[in-house]
C-alpha cells in the first residue's frame, strides 16, 4: 500500500503506570461496576501502531482523557490524535480502535471514533469513513487489512 514510512521518527512518550484499582476487602457480590474511562483505555492502550513497534499509548495517539463514556446510554466516543497531519495510517488506527472496542464492549454500545479536531489534513473524510458501517464492513472483507488489524491488536490481548 504505502512505500516508506509516513512518520519515520515519531516521538515516543513514557507509558503511564498501570493503576491498580483498589478493591475493598468485602466486595458486595451484587454491586454493579459500571464501564468507565479507565476500562475503555485498558482495552485500547496496548494496540500497536501500524508503522512502529510502539503502542498507541506510547505515541500519545490515545489518552485516557480523550475517551468519553456514558454507560447508561451505552455510548462511547474515542478521540485519537495521529502523530502527523497527513498520516495515511489514521484510518487504519481508527479501524483498529473500532474493531477492538467492537469485540470488547457489550453489543448495546454505540462506538464513535474520530480524529481530534485540527490534527489531520482530511479530518472530515477520515471521520466519515470510520463511522460508516458499510465501509467498515467492507474494509473487514479485505484480507490484507484484516491481517494488518489483527497484528496491531495482538499485543492488546496479552
Amino acid at each position: 500500500m504505502v512505500s516508506g514510512l509516513i512518520n519515520a521518527n515519531p516521538i515516543v512518550y513514557e507509558k503511564k503506570e498501570r493503576r491498580t484499582r483498589s478493591t475493598p476487602a468485602d466486595v458486595d457480590e451484587y454491586a454493579v461496576e459500571a464501564i468507565d474511562q479507565l476500562e475503555i483505555f485498558e482495552h485500547i492502550r496496548d494496540i500497536k501502531d501500524p508503522e512502529h513497534p510502539y503502542s498507541l499509548e506510547e505515541l500519545k495517539v490515545i489518552s485516557e482523557d480523550a475517551i468519553e463514556v456514558d454507560d447508561k446510554h451505552s455510548y462511547v466516543r474515542v478521540t485519537f490524535t495521529p502523530t502527523v497531519e497527513h498520516c495515511s495510517m489514521a484510518t487504519v488506527i481508527g479501524l483498529c480502535l473500532r474493531v477492538k472496542l467492537m469485540r470488547s464492549l457489550p453489543p448495546r454500545y454505540k462506538v464513535d471514533i474520530r480524529v481530534a479536531p485540527g490534527t489531520h489534513a482530511t479530518e472530515a473524510a477520515v471521520n466519515k469513513q470510520l463511522n460508516d458501517k458499510e465501509r467498515v464492513a467492507a474494509a473487514l472483507e479485505n484480507p490484507n487489512l484484516v491481517d494488518m488489524v489483527d497484528e496491531c491488536l495482538a499485543p492488546s490481548y496479552e
Binding site: 484499582r21 466486595v27 457480590e29 451484587y30 454491586a31 454493579v32 461496576e33 464501564i35 476500562e39 485498558e42 482495552h43 474493531v99 467492537m102 469485540r103 470488547s104 464492549l105 457489550p106 453489543p107 448495546r108 473487514l140 484484516v146 488489524v149 489483527d150 490481548y157
Partner: protein, 1132 residues
C-alpha cells in the same frame, strides 16, 4: 610397536598441519599425541626429531602450525617430568623462535608452557628465563600483534615477572622500559587486565628498576583512569568492576607511585562526573592504606579540602522516605558522599594529625559557632539540614576510630555544644532527684541537640567496640570522659525536660526523637563507663518507664520510648549479672509487669501487653517474669466473685490469653525455653477452676470469646509440652473434671457450666501426643460421647483426636490404666449403634460392629445431626492414621445421606422418616453431606501437626480412591433428585480437597459426574461455595495434559455447563472461573471444539455486559481465544 607407532603419530601431525583442519580436529590431534607421550609410547626427542621438517621448513604457514603444535603439546605435559636437557633445548628453541614473527604464536605458547612448569617435574633455569626475557624485549613488537597474540605475550611477561624474579632483576631498567613500550596504547579489556597485573607485580617486587621510569609508566596507566567504556554494552558491568579493581591494585602496588597517583586522583575528583568522583574516592581510600601515613601526610590539606567540598560545601543527600519517623534527619547519602566518608575514616585512622585540620577548619568552626541560627527545627531550610547532617557525620567519623581522636573532637566541640544547649556543669550539691519544675531552656537549640546526640552515639560506638563488656581501666582518665561526666547529669535532665515539655505534644517531633535517642545512648554505655553513674541510669529508666506506663496519648513518644527501653534491655542482655541489669529488672520489668494486672492506668490493655511482651523478649529471665505476670492477671480475673463477668474484664481476658498463646508461648518455643512455662500455665488454669469450686463460688459462665481464647491457649500450651508434662496435665484435669461431675451426678449433662469444663478438657485431649498415657479412658470417652450427643462440638474434635492417637494394642505392664483403640471404637460404635440388632443382615464386616443399624437414641433430629458430626470427626481421625474402620464410618455417613431413599438398606429409618417433617430430614442429609468436607479438609482446631496428629502420607488420595466407586454406583442407582443432589454434595466435598494428580488419573470417569454435579447444585443459591470448588477442580483438569484428553470426549457438555455458569448471578468468582475454563477449552483439538464456537461467542458476548469488571475482562480474552480458532477471526 616401534615400527607401528611412528606411523600413527605422524598421521596426527599431518592432520594438524593440514590447512583444511578444523579447530576441533586440531585439538583432537594434540590430545592424541600428548596421550602417547604421557604413556611413554613416544618420547619427546622422537617427536621433535620426527617433526623437524615442520619446525624448520621455509613455508611459514606450515612452520607456524608445526611450532604451535609443539607448544600446545607441551601445554598438555605440564605435570610430566622432563629431564633438564630436553627442557633447556626446547626453551632454547622457543626463545630463538620469538624472533620469527611469522610463526610467533607457537613460540609464545611453548615458552609459556615451559615457564609455567612446576618444580617437581623439571623447570626452566633462571639464566634460560633471562634469555627468554631478553629475546622478548628484543624481538616482540607487542602492540603490532593481534588481540590473542597480545594477550599471550602479556601472559608471558606476567609469568616471567611472577615466577623468575632473579632473572628479571638482572635486566634492570631494560625490563621496565620494555614493558612501557609493550603496554602503551593497549585498549582490549582482557589484555588490560593482564597489563594492570604486570604493573602491580612490577610495583610490588621490582621497586629498584622502577625508580627511573615510574613517571612514564604512570602516564600510560593514568590515562585509563577512571575505567569508562565509550561504547557500553550490557555485560560490561562485571568487566568494568574487574578492570577497575585491577587498576586500583596496580596504582597501590608501591609507595613510589604516590607522587604521580595522588595528584591524578585528586584532579579527577574535581571532575563533574559522579562516577569519576566515586572511583577516585575509592582509589584514594585504598591508596591511603597502602602508601602509609608518611607518604600521605603532604597531601592532607588538599585531601581535606576535597573532602570538605564533597561532604560539607555541596553535600549530595536526600531526605529518606521514612525520615519523618526518624526525627526528620534521616538523609540518604549519594554514592559520592558515602565513598567520601569511607575515605575520611581511612585517612583519620592512618594519621592522627589529620583531625586537627578538620577541627581547625574555619568553615566548620564558623558553622558550629553559628548554631544559634538552627534553634527551631521547622525553621531550618533543607540545605542547612543537609549541612548539619554532614557536620554531624564528619564529627562522628572523626570520633569513632580511637580514644585519642575522641578526646580531640570532644575538647574542641563539646563545650561549644553545651554552651548552645545552655547547660552547665552539674553541682554535686544539687538535689539528686529531678525537680518536677526544673528550669530548662525554653527553646532547645536543635542543631546543638542533634550534634550532641550524634557525638554521644559515636562515643558509645567507640567504647563498645573497645570494651566488649570487660572493664578497661583508664576511661576515667580520658579528657572526653571527664568532660562528659561533668555534664552527664545536666544532659539527662535536659533530655527529660525536653520530653516533658510541650514540644512532645507535636506528633513526630524531631526534638522528641533526639531526646529519646540521647537517653538511650547514655543508658547503653558499657558497665565500666564512669560518666553514667547508676543514679543517672536509674533516672533515665524511670523517665522512659513513666512515659510508657502513662502517656499513650502521644503515640510517637510512646513508641520511641518503648523502642529505647527494648534497645537498653537488649544491650544489658550482653553482659548479664551486672548492676545495671539488676536496676533494669527492678525499675522496668517489674513496673511493666505490674501494669498488666492493674486497671488504674490510663493505658489501653493492648498497649500494656505489647509493652510487656517487647520488654520481656529482650531476655529470657524477663520473659519468665512477664509470663508470671500474665498468669497472675488471668488468675485475678478468674477469682472475681460475681457470677457474670463484666464485658471489660471479658475483653481483657481474651487479650491476655491471646498474648499468651500467640506471642509468649511461640517465643519460648523458638528459643527452646523451659517446658515449665506451658506446663505451669495449663496447670494453673486447672487450679483456678478447682479453687473456684472449693471456694463454693459458682462456676464460671464465660462468653464464647473467652472460652475460645482459653481453649486455644490451652491447646497450644499442652501441645508444646513433652509426654511427661502432658501426663501431669491430663491427670490434673481429669481430677478436677470428675470431682465436679461426681458432685452433679450427671455425666455430661450439658448445662453451660459443665460445657466450660468439658471444652477445656477436650482442648487438653486434642493436643496430647500419641505416646501420652490417658487415665480412665473409658470414662473420658463416655463423657465426650454424651456431651457430643448434646451438641458439644469440641467433644467431637476430642473424639477424633482420641481415635487418631490411641495405641492399637496395649503393651507392657500398665494395661489396666491404658486404653486401646479397639476398646474405644467398640464403645463408640456401641453408643452410636442400636442395641437392637434385629436387622443386621445387610452390612456386617465381621468385626462385630454393625454400623448400618444405627441406633436413634432419641427422636430429636438435632441429636442425629450431632451424631453425624461426631462420626465425621471420628472418621477423619481414623482416616488420617490409615485405620480400616474408617470404611464403617463412611458407610454410616452414607446411610444418613440417603435417608430419603424408599425401601432402602436402612429399614429402621422408615418410622423415623414418617415421624419427622421433611425439612428436618433434609437438614440431616445436608449435614451428612458436609461431614465429607470435615473428613477431607485440613483443620485448624485439631488433628494437625501442631497437635501431634498421626498423619499417614497420601491419606486423602486413599480416601478418594475408595469412596469414588461407591459414589459412582450410588449416583447411578439413585432415582430421586434430592438424593442425587445430596450425593453430589458429598462427592463435591471429597473432590475439592483431593490433590489434582489423583483426580487426573480418573478424569475420564469423573468429568460427566462433575458436570452433572454442577447442574444439580447450581439450583440452590446456598451451594455457591461448593460450586466454586468444583469449578476449580474442572479448571485443574482442563489445564493438565491428561485431563485435556478426558475433556475432549466431553467437550460439548463441558461447554454447555460452563456457559450456564457464566451467567451464575450469585458469585462473581464462579462466573470468572467459568470463563477462564472456557479459555482453557479453546486449546482442545480444533475439530472437536469448532462446532461449539458460535455458542461460546454468543454466551461470552453476554458476559461482556457483566456487572463486574473482572468478568468483563475475562470475557474479552475468552472471545479472542475462541474467535481466533477460526481462520477469519474478525467475524465474530
Amino acid at each position: 610397536m616401534e615400527t607401528r607407532a611412528p606411523v600413527q603419530w605422524i598421521k596426527h601431525i599431518e592432520q594438524y598441519v593440514k590447512s583444511s583442519a578444523t579447530p576441533s580436529q586440531q585439538a583432537a590431534s594434540v590430545d592424541a599425541v600428548a596421550t602417547l607421550i604421557k604413556n611413554d609410547t613416544l618420547t619427546l626427542e622422537a617427536l621433535v626429531r620426527g617433526m623437524e621438517m615442520y619446525l624448520t621448513t621455509t613455508d611459514s604457514i606450515i612452520r607456524s602450525r608445526g611450532i604451535l603444535l609443539l607448544g600446545e603439546i607441551l601445554e598438555q605435559l605440564t605435570s610430566k617430568p622432563l629431564n633438564s636437557t630436553s627442557i633447556s633445548s626446547l626453551i632454547g628453541f622457543f626463545t630463538e623462535r620469538l624472533a620469527d614473527w611469522k610463526a610467533l604464536r607457537g613460540a609464545i605458547v611453548g615458552c609459556l608452557a615451559l615457564l609455567r612448569r612446576q618444580n617437581d617435574s623439571g623447570i626452566v633455569t633462571d639464566s634460560e628465563a633471562k634469555a627468554v626475557a631478553q629475546s622478548y624485549l628484543q624481538n616482540l613488537q607487542v602492540q603490532s600483534l593481534g588481540q590473542h597474540d597480545r594477550k599471550l605475550s602479556f601472559q608471558l611477561m606476567e609469568c616471567l615477572l611472577d615466577r623468575y624474579p632473579g632473572a628479571i632483576e638482572d635486566l634492570g631498567d631494560n625490563i621496565v622500559y620494555g614493558i612501557c613500550e609493550a603496554i602503551d596504547g593497549e585498549k582490549d579489556p582482557q589484555c588490560l587486565l593482564i597489563v594492570f597485573r604486570i604493573v602491580e607485580i612490577l610495583g610490588r617486587s621490582y621497586s629498584g628498576p622502577l625508580e627511573e621510569f615510574e613517571g612514564d609508566l604512570l602516564e600510560i596507566l593514568g590515562s585509563y583512569f577512571p575505567i569508562h567504556f565509550t561504547h557500553p554494552k550490557g555485560e560490561d558491568d562485571g568487566v568494568k568492576r574487574e578492570l577497575s579493581r585491577a587498576l586500583m591494585l596496580a596504582f597501590a602496588s608501591t609507595p613510589i607511585f604516590e607522587p604521580f597517583v595522588i595528584p591524578l586522583l585528586l584532579e579527577k575528583l574535581s571532575s563533574s562526573l559522579p562516577s569519576a568522583k566515586v572511583e577516585s574516592l575509592r582509589y584514594l581510600s585504598y591508596c591511603t592504606t597502602e602508601y602509609g601515613p608518611y607518604r600521605m601526610a603532604m597531601h592532607d590539606e588538599t585531601l581535606w579540602s576535597c573532602l570538605k567540598e564533597v561532604t560539607y560545601i555541596s553535600p549530595q543527600s536526600t531526605l529518606a522516605m521514612e525520615s519523618e519517623s526518624m526525627g526528620g534527619m534521616n538523609f540518604q547519602e549519594s554514592d559520592v558522599m558515602k565513598q567520601a566518608f569511607i575515605l575520611l575514616q581511612e585517612v583519620i585512622r592512618q594519621s592522627g594529625d589529620f583531625i586537627s585540620l578538620i577541627i581547625g577548619d574555619n568553615d566548620i568552626l564558623l558553622f558550629l559557632n553559628s548554631l544559634n541560627q538552627y534553634k527551631e527545627f521547622d525553621a531550618i531550610p533543607v540545605q542547612d539540614k543537609q549541612r548539619l547532617h554532614a557536620v554531624g557525620h564528619i564529627l562522628t567519623t572523626c570520633a569513632k576510630p580511637s580514644v585519642a581522636l575522641c578526646n580531640k573532637v570532644f575538647k574542641s566541640v563539646f563545650p561549644l555544644l553545651m554552651d548552645h544547649l545552655e547547660l552547665s556543669v552539674a553541682k554535686p550539691s544539687e538535689n539528686s532527684y529531678l525537680d518536677e519544675d526544673c528550669v530548662c531552656p525554653v527553646k532547645f537549640n536543635f542543631g546543638a541537640l542533634y550534634l550532641c546526640v550524634e557525638l554521644l552515639a559515636a562515643c558509645r560506638y567507640m567504647t563498645v567496640s573497645l570494651d566488649n563488656c570487660t572493664s578497661v581501666p583508664g576511661f576515667s582518665d580520658q579528657t572526653w570522659c571527664a568532660m562528659l561526666s561533668d555534664f552527664s547529669k545536666s544532659l539527662v535532665e535536659a533530655f527529660i525536660s525536653l520530653l516533658r515539655s510541650s514540644v512532645a505534644d507535636k506528633p513526630q517531633s524531631a526534638y522528641v526523637y533526639f531526646g529519646v535517642k540521647g537517653l538511650q545512648v547514655l543508658a547503653t554505655f558499657p558497665e565500666s563507663f564512669p560518666p553514667v553513674s547508676k543514679s543517672i541510669y536509674d533516672k533515665i529508666l524511670l523517665e522512659l518507664v513513666s512515659i510508657v506506663t502513662s502517656d499513650c496519648s502521644k503515640a510517637f513518644l510512646w513508641t520511641l520510648a518503648l523502642k529505647a527501653l527494648v534497645e537498653i534491655g537488649c544491650f544489658i542482655d550482653k553482659c548479664p549479672d551486672s548492676e545495671k541489669a539488676v536496676s533494669f529488672e527492678s525499675i522496668v520489668v517489674e513496673k511493666i509487669v505490674s501494669l498488666i494486672s492493674s486497671d488504674d492506668s490510663a493505658l489501653p490493655s493492648s498497649l500494656k501487653l505489647q509493652a510487656a511482651f517487647e520488654i520481656g523478649a529482650t531476655r529470657k529471665v524477663f520473659m519468665l517474669t512477664v509470663a508470671q505476670g500474665l498468669d497472675e492477671a488471668i488468675n485475678t480475673i478468674f477469682s472475681e466473685k460475681n457470677d457474670h463477668w463484666n464485658p471489660e474484664s471479658d475483653k481483657l481476658m481474651v487479650k491476655l490469653l491471646d498474648t499468651y498463646s500467640q506471642k509468649v508461648l511461640p517465643w519460648f518455643l523458638e528459643i527452646g525455653g523451659p517446658e515449665e512455662i506451658p506446663l505451669n500455665f495449663a496447670l494453673s488454669i486447672w487450679d483456678m477452676i478447682e479453687n473456684r469450686r472449693s471456694l463454693n463460688l459458682n462456676p464460671l459462665e464465660p462468653t464464647s470469646d473467652v472460652l475460645g481464647a482459653t481453649m486455644t491457649a490451652m491447646k497450644k500450651a499442652v501441645g508444646s509440652c513433652s509426654k511427661e508434662s502432658q501426663e501431669i496435665i491430663i491427670n490434673k484435669a481429669f481430677g478436677v473434671l470428675f470431682s465436679r461431675l461426681q458432685q452433679t451426678h450427671n455425666l455430661g449433662n450439658s448445662s453451660g457450666r459443665d460445657e466450660w469444663l468439658t471444652s477445656l478438657f477436650a482442648s487438653v485431649v486434642i493436643a496430647l501426643r500419641p505416646q501420652t498415657n490417658i487415665p480412665n479412658g473409658k470414662m473420658i470417652l463416655q463423657l465426650f460421647i454424651i456431651s457430643l450427643l448434646n451438641g458439644h462440638i469440641p467433644s467431637a474434635h476430642a473424639l477424633g483426636s482420641l481415635v487418631n492417637k490411641l495405641p492399637l494394642e496395649i503393651t507392657g505392664m500398665d494395661s489396666s490404666r491404658s486404653f486401646s483403640l479397639n476398646e474405644a471404637l467398640d464403645m463408640i460404635f456401641h453408643n452410636f449403634i442400636g442395641t437392637s440388632r434385629y436387622d443386621n443382615t445387610s452390612v456386617n464386616d465381621g468385626s462385630g460392629v454393625n454400623i448400618s443399624s444405627l441406633r436413634l437414641n432419641t427422636l430429636r433430629i438435632q441429636s442425629e445431626i450431632n451424631t453425624v458430626i461426631g462420626l465425621a470427626w471420628i472418621g477423619k481421625g481414623l482416616l488420617m492414621r490409615g485405620h480400616e474402620k474408617v470404611k464403617d464410618v463412611t458407610m454410616a455417613l452414607l446411610s444418613f445421606l440417603m435417608l430419603d431413599r424408599e425401601a432402602a438398606v436402612v429399614k429402621q429409618f422408615q418410622n423415623l422418616i414418617e415421624e419427622f417433617d421433611e425439612e428436618d430430614v433434609h437438614r440431616l442429609m445436608i449435614c451428612a453431606g458436609d461431614a465429607f468436607c470435615i473428613i477431607m479438609s485440613d483443620s485448624e482446631e485439631c488433628l494437625n501437626r501442631t497437635y501431634h496428629a498421626i498423619i499417614r502420607p497420601l491419606y486423602k488420595q486413599r480416601f478418594f480412591s475408595t469412596i469414588m466407586p461407591i459414589f459412582l454406583s450410588l449416583v447411578v442407582k439413585s432415582e430421586s433428585s434430592l438424593l442425587r443432589s445430596m450425593l453430589y454434595r458429598a462427592f463435591a466435598h471429597v473432590l475439592s480437597d483431593t490433590p489434582t494428580t489423583a483426580i487426573l488419573l480418573e478424569a475420564k470417569k469423573l468429568l460427566p459426574m462433575l458436570l452433572d454435579c454442577l447442574s444439580m447444585l447450581s439450583k440452590d443459591v446456598m451451594n455457591k461455595k461448593i460450586i466454586y470448588n468444583v469449578l476449580l477442580v474442572i479448571s485443574g483438569i482442563l489445564l493438565e495434559k491428561n485431563g485435556q484428553e478426558a475433556a475432549v470426549e466431553n467437550a460439548p457438555s463441558i461447554v454447555d455447563q460452563l456457559i450456564e455458569l457464566t451467567a451464575y448471578s450469585h458469585m462473581m468468582a464462579v462466573r470468572e472461573t467459568a470463563i477462564q475454563c472456557l479459555v482453557a477449552v479453546s486449546e482442545l483439538p480444533h475439530a472437536r471444539i469448532y462446532p461449539l464456537r458460535t455458542k461460546v461467542l454468543r454466551a461470552t458476548s453476554k458476559a461482556l455486559d457483566d456487572p463486574k469488571r473482572i468478568v468483563r475482562q475475562e470475557a474479552v480474552r475468552c472471545r479472542q481465544a475462541w474467535a481466533s480458532i477460526a481462520t477469519r477471526s474478525l467475524h465474530f
